[in-house]
Symmetry: D2
Subunit: 346 residues, 4 copies
């Protein structure tokens, strides 16, 4: 089969013919139809510091996908050949304290497809049956391909109470934009986006943000931001989705006393923080967010989509056939795309 | 009356004759008997950066106290002359969102006695009746004088669920040592102290810590620490009470995935943190802790003391008459004392 | 001044000339403009069992109101003559454990205006300044008059997490109907009303309910109800607002395993429940809801109204001048009204 | 092998020779050493209403056990022949919403060993590997045999915050007595037992209860009970473990406003409750408790036992060889035993 493989250390990937993966008695084989390209894939492609420290080529890349079950292992229950499916790409060890207490998303021995083992940028993917998610017919294949980042946004938003609150979202990339919609549907009174790129601010407003600030626009925007919040002292909830040092520092400045701050964006280096004024005197609650809850988050995402409370299609700015994968990475490099689908049907 | 006054900007304090404070119709006048010296008082005495930025002399210093009601305002209900009392030194504005929703401890217009208005290092203190706390006879005057820091420890410990968990306490000063006892009585399975000073580690063990590590003792102590925790991956709860940059960085390293971290110690400058590994991938919940809940924390402290679940007397290492206040500050300067009582009875 | 007075034990009320109430130094005098008639007022009017056991005539009735400050006590801060206001009718003792820990709504010595002391069905009302709520200009006087029941609905809905969940509301009277709107705006994926009266079911659907069932319509409606819920096993959240025995029994039957059930409606007698199947095996969390949080709920209601997330005007089905108060009670008796405003301006 | 079998409908059980159970590739075969007899087993033995409605003979009875792994299925990881084990007797369907979100204890298709499928009162038990719990050497075999009811007590106590609170425990049978110890170790300031049988009250006091009341002792005990609580208005937390109608009614009467009430005891018929005074006006939070969390509760119990925070041996009042099982049921019938171990080694 064809697969996008990280062959060796260093920049780039290659489209190679590789064997169709084996499945064990509790696995399924999925014929991939559509996949999403994540920032993580781009890190691996461009071979940045994170990638150098984390991954061990060779392996097939990719973790956002949907497809159809092609084959099932002998002990698999309740899944059938032909089922439309997506799936959770974090494969917990199933034996540790975290896996046995419903916290598999923070298992220390987790294997992530496309990072620690072969991923979904391929014609076929082997996945444990317990990680498979059956798709309801109301969920289109384009949306199904990006249930993974929808889940990141959902987990981040619902990690704290949102109802009745003013929410700031820092970073309006794919996940941040989905979070704008989810926060509104989850009961936020208002959502304000902070994003340097104009076309993403425009999307944020289109997705229902009450305002969108450019954090590079000089000294006064923070004051204007606070003026839009109920107490005048900042947001009730801040969701940090940029991963930049500035974004994270802004997160603590834009939070009112007693606020909740969720950190999802992953900074590439250490960040210097004024914890006294920024966290302690304010009595903040700060949550580190990792992945998605298995499978509470999946049920939530399904529900928001089936009830049409969110419409994430507009974040898919490009669709590329897998043979043109280099075009996709070039688009990401130029910062022109929000979410790119990589399509695997011939 | 006699009072310890911060007369002017710069190091030092002076024992001055000042007028007995006035009381309004909703205030009480308290004849001070015993007070505690806090790190904050020492900051004001030594005139460090924090003090320079925060306080505006002249004012009477001190916020930890107990005494007897000498006089009551005309509209005060349920308090009587002669009542033994302590009191909450944070005086909220009573009108803001925080004050009206039970979060007065994070009111932005709070006035702190001994910081923003005249404090308790004096023969008499004027305090709003709503801030007064009546003392049960079971609570000795020595203990009553330090209900304020007991409350800091109580608020920090009870800010997250402690029952059944392994708790690390970083910094075994007065508050950290009280927290060791509270954590044990609040259901911790084990408490481990991290403290560079040997006499404080000894006290921590005496107060029931299962182990006490010197964080300056080289590379291996963190590994030994983790070996003592149930998952082998770190503490279930970390309480940061040192306020040092190293202490705070340790807090995030010693926390297992999914742990709760409470930050009470106030760093004097910005701290550089590895948020990716330290907070986000671990899925930590980090709480900034400010003051004490009014008055949930006071009820809790009373209960732990009345039921003899904690015995804080051993942290009172010195008792000094107010005329010898300079001896007290000298003891603090030399790092010899844990908690010093300043006594006001003649 | 004119006031609606419960003069003696037994049915009825009388419109009497009574003295304008006195105010103390921390009170304000409010010139009443609009009031709402609550079920409680009707209980007092009709002198049912609850009224016989609870109230002690003579007193002025009424607790839902808005008006303008006419006079302020000498120690009142931040309120001015002419301010448009509503207010919390539960006057806590301010000294008990509950009042001192932000739980004044369950104070055992609470005095409720119009029940335990003179109420707002009068030209003037005396109220402690701490109970006064300033009205933002965006909130119309009609809506301001019913902030009290809006608060009941708000407190009930927000007592548990609503985001992403299927919510059942039992009883679509004034509070139930407001709750339909609040639940939707607070993030419910779907809201289903259970209500025997057809005109109220119609309003529930108009307010955004996905479905409305008549609980007297025979055996099959519960099965149909469950079919509309995500698990097929019942609602994720049930809000009981009917106070009827049947409504309460339905609440537990309509809840899926692990659901949250909030009880606001007050049954007039004991209710027989199958706790084993209905609560224990299901692992439900059941919350008794009393009044409104002071003042978290008021801030929330203000926010939902100012942001136009709810529009409660349609529940005001009648407006009656106070001189025609007997017409209003007759409407309630015939079950024709949802919410009646009693107007006090001449 | 020998097994205690419920052969037919009607009272009694029989000790029969039955085939050693088969194991599938993901199961293990456990050679049983010690088992505990639960009230459920007695219901099945005596064939009461619950048993008639719930179970379908023939099947092997029993669900509290410990033993040694005799054989493992081909796909079982990390378990070995010879491991000392106990295990969770609730076998979830693994596919429903509850099983996939860490709430397997309320799965609607759960199979309970000894109730819905063959149980542990036998020389061998077949159990899915995922339900097996490895025993630490610090946990004695006697204690290991009753980890199931220890887990019920643990789950009930830890379902709400206990630290600093006054806890009432209604019903001092095996689970209630274990709960007395757990509550104390989990941070309760005081624990008060309510139990009609004198020898159980004596054990409750021996286990650390501050007081033990006989609920059949006339009118005044409730007043005395309240006098022992911090607010004078009742317990902060009530754990109902009797399952009797009177116990449940007492639970709501003994709870102070704002209290938490956990219901574990299973009433055999409907219970009549004054929800207005008992739940709604008080603003209680009531939790139905089912089974144990898989496997958070198991980790907690292990920790309390390893740290010697609880000592449950004294509740084991009798040890009986399986051939004398009829003696054991006779002891239960006469109400003389607290917990009886049934031993399976020859």
């Amino acid at each position: 089969m064809q697969a996008l493989v990280k062959r060796t250390e260093g920049p780039g990937m290659s489209l190679d013919a590789v064997p169709v993966p084996e499945i064990g008695p509790t696995d399924v084989l999925i014929r991939i139809q559509k996949t999403g390209i994540c920032g993580t894939d781009y890190h691996i492609y461009s071979w940045d510091t994170w990638a150098r420290n984390r991954v061990r080529p060779p392996f097939t890349v990719g973790h956002e996908f949907m497809g159809v079950i092609e084959k099932i292992g002998g002990m698999v229950e309740r899944l059938r050949v032909g089922d439309r499916v997506s799936g959770e790409g974090h494969i917990g060890c199933r034996h540790c304290y975290f896996c046995r207490t419903g916290q598999g998303h923070i298992c220390r021995d987790v294997q992530i497809i496309g990072v620690d083992r072969d991923g979904c940028f391929a014609e076929f993917l082997s996945l444990p049956a317990g990680n498979v998610w059956n798709l309801k017919p109301e969920i289109s294949s384009d949306v199904a391909a990006i249930l993974d980042p929808i889940g990141n946004a959902m987990h981040t938003v619902t990690a704290q109470n949102i109802a009745g609150r003013a929410v700031a979202i820092i970073g309006a990339g794919a996940i941040g934009l989905i979070a704008v919609q989810i926060a509104r549907s989850a009961g936020a009174m208002s959502v304000i986006a902070i994003e340097p790129q104009e076309h993403k601010r425009t999307l944020a407003l289109q997705f229902g943000a009450a305002a969108a600030f450019d954090p590079t626009s000089g000294a006064d925007w923070q004051r204007q931001f606070c003026a839009l919040t109920p107490t005048g002292m900042g947001a009730d909830v801040v969701l940090e989705m940029s991963g930049s040092g500035t974004g994270i520092r802004n997160a603590f400045e834009l939070a009112r006393p007693g606020a909740d701050v969720a950190l999802l964006g992953i900074p590439s280096k250490e960040v210097q923080l004024d914890l006294s004024e920024g966290v302690i005197f304010k009595g903040l609650v700060v949550r580190g967010i990792n992945g998605r809850l298995m499978f509470e988050t999946w049920y939530q995402s399904e529900r928001f989509l089936v009830e049409k409370k969110i419409d994430v299609l507009p974040i898919i700015t490009h669709r590329v056939h897998y043979r043109e994968y280099m075009d996709a990475f070039a688009l990401l490099e130029r910062g022109e795309a929000v979410k790119i689908l990589l399509e695997w049907e011939n």
